[in-house]
Symmetry: C2
Subunit: 251 residues, 2 copies
DNA sequence: AAGTGGTCTAGACCACCAT
DNA sequence: TGGTGGTCTAGACCACTTA
């Protein structure tokens, strides 16, 4: 009934990469380029399919993968939306500290210090920066319930966060990731973490009200954007006497 | 060209759950029931679709999800296979300890002790057992390179592992998960882990050749089967001076 | 060459949401 | 009521593996 041969030929340039993957790339470029912004609704699937000149099934396969990756969000009857860093989403995807045997709660975050400097070799490696590139360093103290639970040491490239000052952070009622997104157009999509158990450094122990050299969970995290570009480097120390790190993996 | 209405009616019983989900359940039941065993090839997709009386697209959607969950494995041109606990797969999905900044290596595992007893309240909770149910406890010592790196304390329900004795474990050249699968028809599909930093218990410190009360990474893990049924409870203590826990999340 | 999964199409109908 | 995503179909052709 159909002459698929003609269609396939008319598909055009990309001969080796599948159409749905090319479509995914186009969507990703529209996202990182700001054509569709966090919170926006995408055009309806049939419109998008028509615009790209592909069938709705192929369009859906591309969107499916972006939904799986947490980049788009489908809502039946309403539309498809660009994921934004609202608190719930952040808590769900990027915050892994929970009370023992308990559920997730949103932490209180307090900016403890803000400094500028030049990248260490580790920082430049993690953030793909030139040696000695200028960086911004923040230290946050996180509280769950009453007690301080975690100290975050965060490094950002000054080049990617122009004009970011201490006031800009302290003034906000939002989270850091919301600030990256709203203020600099940078959306965190994925993180990669490595964990160790270490004796608390003296300054961390003080902030967490722990005995000197108490065991703490050290979390070293790179946060990545749409194109797996590193946006933030973070070293955290958590007190795990009343909380723990949650990991649901292996599927 | 088609009368979809008739088809939909002829779909039969399950009116609220989508066909592809019902199909997924049927496949899962065939897997846990041993109709298709680990390593086996499934029937070709068009044959399966015909057998279930559904279109190939719907069958593929069900299989897609099982592939995403690591339960089935597709190989173009060859077939679709039931995932088995070969070393590579275990390493990739279930073993999260890597050398600092390094890649994964397979550990040497040594059975250190084998005992029987009755479930603690925690063990019975984690394994969904009655209080004081009979359990088997193993302690393994894991070595990466030359140095001991991790101590695993494993608890199994005696009821689910009948006739499992020390010789049955020590004699094997395989991994524990391969033993669960080949010997008892139990396949691990997913794990859920919670991590803390704790001072090494005395016996663990000795085995890991660490100073008393050195910080260790404590990993508490439930391993689950096809129907999210708990199969194994494991508490590990890792020395993270030269290794770390790897977690790729947030997508 | 035969068999398998992988891609893609064109379109029908269902379920849900807003108005 | 009209629009959105969600499900499902029937079938063509492509890419890959094996013999």
């Amino acid at each position: 009934m159909t002459r698929v041969g003609e269609e396939v030929v008319s598909r055009g340039v990309n001969s080796d990469t599948p159409l749905y993957q090319a479509t995914k790339t186009r969507l990703l470029e529209s996202l990182s380029g700001g054509v569709y912004r966090p919170g926006d609704a995408l055009p309806a699937e049939k419109d998008l399919a028509a615009r790209y000149g592909i069938s709705i099934g192929t369009l859906r396969k591309a969107v499916d993968e972006l939904v799986d990756e947490g980049i788009l969000i489908r809502q039946q009857g309403r539309g498809t939306f660009v994921a934004s860093h609202d608190r719930e989403r952040l808590l769900y995807y990027f915050f892994h500290i929970v009370a023992h045997e308990g559920g997730k709660t949103y932490p209180r975050v307090e900016l403890h210090s803000f400094t500028r400097g030049r990248a260490s070799s580790e920082e430049s490696a993690k953030l793909h920066l030139a040696p000695d590139a200028p960086v911004i360093r923040l230290r946050n103290l996180l509280t769950l319930g009453e007690a301080p639970v975690m100290v975050d040491d965060i490094t950002l490239s000054s080049a990617r966060f122009p004009k970011l000052g201490e006031a800009g952070i302290r003034g906000r009622a939002s989270t850091l990731y919301q600030l990256y997104q709203a203020g600099f157009g940078l959306t965190i999509v994925r993180t990669s973490e490595r964990l160790r158990a270490v004796a608390a450094p003296a300054d961390v122990a003080t902030l967490l009200r722990l005995p000197r050299a108490a065991p703490t969970l050290m979390i070293r995290r790179v946060a990545l954007g749409y194109h797996d570009d590193p946006i933030e480097w973070r070293v955290s120390h958590a007190d795990t006497t009343a909380h723990e790190y949650f990991s649901e993996l292996g599927s």
